[in-house]
């Protein structure tokens, strides 16, 4: 097969950092080419060079696309020749319809007057192609993330795509949506569309990719031909981190004590739709020194449950009781929940966890300012000492405690959010997707921290969509579906199949 794309000797520097160093990438016509690497390995930067976000001249090296050297000055140039990139953060306008979004900036119009009937009929065709059964009139804001992703792809198709680049398309999708998306990519392959897929989910890559290019520290490590050899996750990880990760989960010797934290008969209604129960009668307990997992599909109500317990940060008409060491505690506001010893580490660290514009120091102490202040006056030296301590113990890689959190990698941002809650001295920590979007090495460090927390006698609740992770780090797992706990099992007896089976069983048993 011919190469549709060849990037030769690409180097790109930012002030103080060399993001890409002599990277080579060859993508053959009609294949699905996966790119993987740890966070900060240069994957996104490489794609930005390719799509013209970083214009010709701001990088070194050459790009050959369909046999010609290309010098893109802006994104429009690369789109013009059929290179379309779909970013991790979706670029859709929430309050416009599907059709309006698909043709945004590309409207079928004569003299600026839009031909809506044409737009609608073409939208219908495109939606059919991507397998999305929605009216072209539906607003983006009413669609789930999975469907929004499909709209993005339909938008790419509308632009006559030849090379489709997807940056972590399945990061926020549940398993069934992810599978549907991957199947779609395979269909496109049948139609001759080439795809570049960037993903952290190695099992997915192994499923669909024809070749895999691994980046590490801004250089190409290797390109693996998936048809020439059998690909295992271990093989890819080794190539990504440059060493064998024989065990992805740190060893754990649980020392589980008595009942520590309890939530009883928890019920929550939707914040906007009164009367619609989102959490229906949930009971949970955590023992001292125990790591408890909550498994479930996207939308099962796990985050909603956690946030409603954390000072009613979600929902309305919350009812039920919360007990800490057998004593009922008031968690009606976030302040009271924190005072009662509960910490909630959000799944969305950028919008809910960090003040991105502020430095590590200010973020670490934010949830416990009285801990570094005397009568409302901050003791700078003590604050710096606290921040430095967490920077050291959690191994936050940064130039110092005064580095803005905006400039940290995902894993290090997550560590800052964790530090904030550790400094608040909680008894129970609820970690919502603690390793989402961070690389293998940082994940291992986070797991180690979780183990240490449990060992120090705290209770830990982990919410995660990655079932192997729950199986790897938890002592006990609750399975949640449609606002209920449908099963509970000791981790040693659990398996991915068993968890999925409990979810499905509930669907089968559900009244029509």
């Amino acid at each position: 097969m011919n190469a549709i794309l060849e990037m030769r000797g690409i180097s790109k520097s930012f002030p103080g950092v060399k993001a890409l160093r002599d990277v080579n990438l060859t993508v053959r016509e009609g294949e699905i080419h996966a790119i993987c690497g740890e966070n900060g390995a240069g994957k996104s930067t490489l794609m930005k060079v390719l799509s013209g976000v970083y214009p010709y001249g701001s990088y070194e090296g050459q790009i050959f696309y369909r046999g010609e050297e290309r010098r893109f000055a802006r994104i429009a140039d690369s789109e013009h020749v059929g290179i379309i990139i779909i970013h991790q953060e979706l670029a859709l306008v929430p309050l416009l319809s599907i059709a309006e979004n698909i043709f945004l900036g590309n409207e079928p119009a004569t003299f600026g007057v839009i031909n809506w009937s044409e737009a609608f009929s073409r939208t219908r065709d495109l939606l059919q192609k991507v397998g999305l059964r929605e009216s072209p009139n539906a607003l983006i804001t009413d669609l789930g993330v999975g469907k929004q992703q499909l709209v993005e792809i339909a938008k790419a198709l509308a632009k006559k795509v030849r090379l489709l680049i997807l940056d972590e398309p399945t990061a926020s999708l549940n398993e069934s949506d992810s599978d549907a998306l991957l199947k779609l990519l395979l269909e496109f392959k049948g139609q001759g569309i080439t795809s570049i897929l960037i993903s952290h989910k190695l099992n997915e890559l192994a499923k669909v990719a024809d070749s895999i290019t691994v980046l590490r520290d801004g250089t190409t490590v290797e390109t693996i031909d998936c048809h020439a050899e059998k690909i295992s996750e271990g093989r890819i990880i080794k190539s990504m981190v440059g060493r064998e990760m024989s065990d992805r989960y740190p060893p754990r010797t649980p020392a589980i004590g008595d009942k520590f934290f309890e939530v009883k008969s928890w019920r929550v209604e939707h914040p906007q739709h009164a009367g619609r129960e989102v959490i229906k009668q949930v009971d949970l307990h955590v023992n001292r020194g125990e790591v408890v997992g909550i498994a479930g599909l996207m939308g099962a109500g796990r985050t909603e449950f956690a946030m409603s317990v954390f000072g009613r940060a979600y929902g309305r008409n919350v009812s039920g009781t919360v007990l800490m060491q057998g004593v009922e505690v008031d968690v009606s506001t976030i302040q009271k929940a924190v005072a009662a010893g509960i910490a909630y580490v959000t799944e969305d660290r950028k919008t809910l966890g960090l003040i991105l514009n502020e430095d590590i120091k200010n973020n670490v102490t934010l949830a416990n300012l009285p801990g570094i202040a005397w009568r409302g006056v901050i003791d700078d030296a003590r604050e710096a000492a606290v921040a430095n301590q967490y920077r050291g113990t959690l191994n936050i890689r940064s130039s110092g405690i005064l580095q803005k959190t905006l400039n940290l990698s995902g894993g290090n941002q997550q560590k800052v959010v964790l530090s904030k809650w550790l400094f608040a001295q909680p008894k129970v920590l609820i970690l919502d997707e603690p390793t989402r979007g961070i690389d293998v090495g940082a994940k291992y460090e986070i797991y180690t921290i979780i183990n240490e927390l449990a060992a120090s006698g705290k209770g830990v609740i982990v919410i995660s969509s990655e079932m192997p992770e729950l199986l790897g780090i938890c002592d006990r797992i609750y399975v949640m579906n449609e606002g209920r706990f449908v099963d509970e099992m000791a981790a040693k007896d659990a398996s991915q199949e068993k968890i999925m089976a409990s979810i499905m069983r509930q669907y089968a048993a559900a009244p029509p």
Binding site: T346, T351, I355, L366, L369, A373, A381, G392, G400
Partner: protein, 408 residues
Amino acid sequence: MKHEAIQSPAPERASANASFWKNNLRDYGLLVSLLIIMGFFYFETGGVLLEPVNINNLILQNSYIVIMALGMLLVIVGGNIDLSVGSIVGFVGAVAATAMVVFHIPWGIVIPCALLLGGLIGAAQGYFVAYSKIPAFIVTLAGMLIFRGLTGNMLLGQFVGPFAKGFQAISAGFIPDFSDFGLLKAADGQDQFYWLSMVVGIVGAAILIFAGLRRWRLDKASAMETEPFALFVGKTAIFAFLILFFSYKLAWNKGLPNVLIIMGVLIIVYTFVTTRTTIGRRIYALGGNRLAAQLSGIRTDRLTFLTFVNMGVLAGLAGLIVAARLNSATPSAGNSFELDVIAACFIGGVSASGGVGKVMGVVIGAFFMGVMNNGMSILGIGIFWQQVVKGIVLLAAVYVDVYQKNKG
């Protein structure tokens, strides 16, 4: 948990200095621009700009803008805006004037009541913003119309005044001087030099240098990022020189005006609140990311409410100062002050999206506007051209901000 030594390798030091330059370039740039513009008007006006009487005027004219800008800083940092401050100035001034002139209530009672009134107005607006979740732009636009209208209704186009000497002294008074007791009185035919003012200036400059040095050492000791020493010395020297220079000039006029003391104390208090206290830190967190602040256990609604109450009190104080300066309440007092105050904040580097801004920046921003106003007036440039120039300067200052941000 394992403990690791925190190392700061040598090569990082040089780049830390460089990054410090980059991060703080704006602050120094603003200060240098202020000096340049002062130099420009000094020569253009043939030295009139820095004559003792004019410096006194400059301070009187700008005091209320600076004072309100301190409150506006907190409001904008918290992610809101307050358009009503000019109308509150007019309204509080009118109420205070009516109380004193028509109802003969002593000024000692009127002043605290006027501040309370400002606080209540701020509280009312803050309630709608913080708890009813109405955008601050709308609430305070309504407030701007309402209080301007009420001012007009109350005064019915009349000037209400004059006031007792004691009240006027807020603006027109000077700190008492030895010379008042005849100890250092100048001989007849010679200009009076007010020694105490000079002494206050020297003490102020000494405190500035001493406190700055102590702070610099502490930062260094706790391994914080510190200014390069040369830069620190340069900046402190400029400030100390400005203080000495101004107090020397003022000593040749009538000494330090009372309002300068009020302003100075407020600047120190608000610098302290914004940089050293938990409430200050929380306001910056609120503006930086409201949701994250909320989930960190910060009562964001109450904090927003308090920033408006604070703004109201300061606007009330400004209302008294303006009334005292004009020696009457007028229907148009405080007209369009909100624009000067907001412009001072933005020129001073406050971010319109919240979470970023410094007291010193805002004060310099206010004086930047003040020097331009004053200098152009002396040069006889028409009021309308002055507006054009101020608009361009505002746009240019924010343009530089945004440009730097995108580049960095």
